[in-house]
């Protein structure tokens, strides 16, 4: 920023604006070769997954064909077939689409809940904050994985939507705590006091003044959480308590490896899905790390 020392700056003069949070983030990702590479790979992967899945029929893919059980990769089946003679490549594409979409849905829902509750607790403080924090502390000490599995097992009419809701019920707490801590620091700053003195309603201060200042932290947190959520979802599906069978996920393909024969001799069934999960999570994490540096001025590359 250029500081004009001589005299007050005339209104409308050409002052260099400080760059927006988004342009800083973009610059950081582009400067970091690893993050840029990850962004490109992830972009290509998602384009292929969502593009190809448009031409694939989920019904057709999950149909059993006993004539071609466990056939190794060939021209007809690029990645071979599984124990039901189903095409692994098709399942991989559909599974990746489902895993990513559901991971994203959980991230957005928990983000929205965490943001709302964190902002309220942090901004108003007092007994509201106290009650909310006790609830969060309680949820955080619960054995998350086991309870999710129990819920999945006993919920009647279990489907994708209930899965997303069960996961979200547990996973909003970390975000709410983070947002609350940041809001708590933010509300002590002068611009908030000034707005309050001017009589700006609380909801306007929260949405139009505090929220934009938290945007970079929120984006970093959501990005890293997206990777985590894809991991948790595929892990639960691997155990048999994730997505229902009618919606295959990447974890479904990996779970065929519970059969030692498949794990040992039929790598084409489970290895591609495992590597795809790994690549997706690595890419998202590398992008997230670059964004994290962008959010902290001391760590930026330039």
């Amino acid at each position: 920023m250029k500081a004009e020392i001589s005299g007050p700056t005339p209104v409308g003069a050409n002052i260099e604006k400080s760059p927006s949070a988004f342009s800083i983030m973009w610059r950081e990702v582009v400067r970091d070769r690893l993050a840029l590479g990850s962004l490109i790979i992830l972009g290509i992967l998602l384009a292929i997954v969502y593009g190809v899945s448009l031409f694939l029929d989920q019904e057709e893919i999950v149909k059993v064909d006993f004539l071609s059980i466990y056939s190794p990769p060939s021209a007809e089946h690029w990645l071979g077939t599984d124990y039901g003679g189903r095409d692994v490549f098709g399942q991989l594409i559909i599974g990746a689409r489902n895993s990513f979409t559901i991971g994203l849905a959980i991230t957005l829902i928990t983000g929205l809940i965490g943001l709302t509750i964190g902002l309220i607790a942090g901004y108003f403080g007092g007994w509201i904050d106290n009650v909310i924090m006790r609830v969060i502390d309680f949820i955080l000490v619960l054995p998350f994985l086991m309870l999710v599995i129990v819920f999945v097992a006993i919920v009647p009419k279990y489907n994708v939507l209930t899965f997303i809701l069960i996961m979200s019920a547990f996973l909003w707490t970390g975000k709410a705590r983070l947002i609350r801590a940041k809001t708590l620091a933010e509300r002590e700053l002068d611009y908030v006091s000034a707005s309050k003195t001017l009589g700006t309603p609380d909801w306007k201060i929260i949405i139009f003044q505090i929220l934009p200042n938290l945007s970079s932290i929120i984006i970093v947190n959501l990005t890293l959480n997206l990777a985590g959520n894809i991991g948790i979802e595929s892990g639960l599906t691997y155990l048999g308590f994730g997505l229902p069978e009618s919606t295959p996920s990447l974890g479904t393909l990996v779970s065929y490896a519970t059969n030692p024969d498949v794990l040992q001799n039929k790598w084409w069934v489970w290895l591609p899905a495992s590597l795809l999960i790994l690549v997706m999570m690595l890419c998202i994490n590398f992008i997230g790390q670059a964004l994290k540096r962008a959010a902290d001025a001391r760590q930026r590359l330039g």
Binding site: F138, P143, I154, G231, S234, G235, L263, W267
Partner: protein, 322 residues
């Protein structure tokens, strides 16, 4: 300090109560009750006797009375009867808990054995190739899901190279109590424990590194250096002493992760512990076992967090709650 500990324990009481209510309600929502197990053993039971037993067991009482009785039984160590195994849940757990504790302890020990040297190297010699390598490892380890890593480890070292056994906790042939028995146990433990530790350790490495990087530019380190304290002593006596205590205190927080991890690791390496029992029981709808396991895990997490909070506040008085 004593006041803080008391306060902290007081906070735990409502949490414990809520946890037990939640699990009791979940148990009520699960299909089947205490009689299902006996009914399975003796399917020709007369409906009249069944109704009588139901009355006797108090299954017709109001919910809050049932809850109080449930808690009372639990405090007396009575966790009900397993429906598939036809034995008290307490006995069933007693036979399994040793393996899970062993696995978790091995993971923790390996975690620190890996994290401490790597963290120190990385924090002391920043921006060297060793540091870059360690950071690279910690990024990859952070992003890798445990179950995928464990599967790939099993595939490579268990099946492909055949270095380690691929399942179980001990060979069946060896006699209990002999040296061969313990060696076989250790051999079965290595692969699951390493898989868990190599993933678990990265957070500790990152923490230790940033802690060292922050501390080594502080004034008291400069003073020590100016006094002519040898570099080795500066690291061991001045910098690391400050970083080790919090790491040791995090032990209690690790319990949540270890419980979750044991479910995956025990299922992948068919290691007969509580995590595997949990998955089997929920698939066989053996709900009294499931309830007991969730309650125990919740309790372990609560106690772990309590211990960590107390140790941390003893180490660092700034974080005491008022």
């Amino acid at each position: 300090m004593l006041k803080f500990i008391l306060r902290r324990i007081l906070i735990m009481i409502p949490q414990l109560f809520l946890l037990s209510v939640l699990i009791f309600l979940l148990a009520k929502a699960m299909p089947g009750d205490a009689l299902t197990g006996q009914l399975a053993a003796n399917p020709k039971m007369d409906p009249k006797t069944l109704a009588e037993m139901k009355e006797k067991l108090g299954l017709n009482d109001p919910v809050h009375i049932q809850y109080i009785r449930w808690v009372k039984n639990m405090l007396h160590g009575d966790l009900g009867l397993s429906y598939t195994h036809q034995q008290p849940v307490t006995d069933l757990l007693a036979g399994r808990i040793g393996n899970t504790v062993l696995l978790s302890a091995a993971i923790l020990i390996l975690t620190y054995l890996i994290a401490i040297p790597l963290g120190i190297v990385s924090g002391r010699w920043t921006d060297t190739w060793a540091d870059k390598l360690i950071i690279g490892y910690s990024y990859i380890g952070f992003a890798t899901p445990l179950f995928i890593f464990a599967l790939i480890m099993l595939f490579i070292f268990g099946f492909h190279l055949g270095w380690f056994p691929t399942g179980g906790s001990v060979d069946v042939q060896v006699e209990e109590g002999t040296l061969a028995y313990y060696l076989s146990k250790l051999n079965h433990l290595m692969l699951p424990a390493l898989s868990g530790a190599l993933i678990n350790t990265v957070i500790t490495i990152q923490y230790l590194r940033s802690e060292i990087v922050d501390t080594k530019v502080k004034d008291f380190v400069k003073t020590a250096r100016a006094k002519g304290v040898p570099e080795r002593h500066i690291y061991w006596r001045h910098i690391l002493r400050n970083s080790f205590l919090p790491i040791a205190a995090f032990l209690g927080y690790e319990i949540t992760g270890l419980i979750g991890g044991s479910v995956f690791l025990e299922s992948i390496y068919s290691y007969p512990g509580l995590g595997q029992l949990f998955l089997q029981s929920i698939m066989q709808r053996d709900y009294s076992v499931v309830t007991a396991l969730v309650m125990i895990s919740g309790l372990a997490t609560l106690v772990g967090t309590l211990l960590s909070d107390i140790i941390l506040s003893a180490v660092d008085p700034r974080i005491r709650i008022e």
